[in-house]
Amino acid sequence: MQISLTVNGHDHTLDVPENTLLVDVIREHLKLTGTHVGCDTSQCGACTVHLDGRGVKSCTVLAAQVDGSNVTTIEGIGSTENLHPMQQAFRDCHALQCGFCTPGMIMSAIDLVENVGVQTNQEVREGLEGNICRCTGYHNIVQAVLQVARAGTDQTQEN
């Protein structure tokens, strides 16, 4: 079947089998391999992307369901020269070791700061319940998210 998607600002029209997952369109068809598949059973969040601005597990969405939607992947938020503030915060706080969970963590973290408005350690931990990391132990990830969340508030306070 034919589907149309806007991915990271670019329009794509693709011909895919009906049972194609969104994550497979992203990785196999568009070759955007920053989005990872960790579990393929809706548990780990490594495949998190933004669908019309909100975090979803792209291994648990059919491409057919999101025909006409706007998708943002980790490749769409910043570049090596110009990191997104969340990417910069993960770097500053040493919030990754192997990096496998990181694209999903960052996409969830951006949704949490921009749409949920997390401010406290507890809120960030609860907000990241859908993302599993097997190596950093979460502490530095939470610090990175709080750094961005609080920078947002500090700026408003200063202005």
Partner: protein
Amino acid sequence: MYQFNYHKPTSVEEAQALFKAVEDGMFLAGGQTLIPTLKQRLAAPTDVIDLSGIAELSGIEVRDDRVSVGAFTRHADVADSAEIRRVLPVLSALAGQIGDGQVRNRGTLGGSVANSDPAADYPAAVVALGATVYTASRSISADDYFKDLFETALEPGEILSRIEFQCPTRAAYRKFPNPASRYATVGVLVADFSGDIRVGVTGAGPCAFRATALEEVLREQLSVEAVETVEVPDAGFNSDLHASAEYRAHLVKVMTKRAVADLLKA
């Protein structure tokens, strides 16, 4: 995942006609249960009928002491709805505890209640808030809706269109979440309708039910101590690697006490 045909009807009528016309159809809502099921090949429909294009399944409406929520309303929208928070805050709080943020951004009320997973959260609200489940052709009262493990009063091909909840004077929901999935090992919703108490339990048995013995005692005296006097037998309760039936019976009391304590604080 096996290959299937995909359809996206724009009305309930069209969806039901499709269901009749195809060999082995299944409805798809948020996909947070169905897609993992298809991947594990536990279901192999010839045709998947996506309900996301049907406008009449959406919408939140508050009328007097009732809230009607469309089947296709996502968990995150129930959690964030200013209207529901105002008249039925317990439902928003419950929806905000389902799974994780990504699951809440996709999963829907209708999908959860049609599926009737024994550990799902919404069914506790359906029974405790005296809800009415609407389909295109009829209404089903909460007390008649949940039948058994993954079994409800819905007929094959019948689409759940909306659920109407009654707003209690005050209510509270407490669950003991499975630490990995957040599904309710046991969840209890206690609702006070001007002295008439309803207690909805999920996670403990094959499907959600009202704990009538607890309701009777709490109608006499709405207190944490009153819960202590009730025996909760574990006959027929679920037993799995997460919790034995005996432990679930214990949790029913503990979660009821916590919910009553919250309700009295509110």
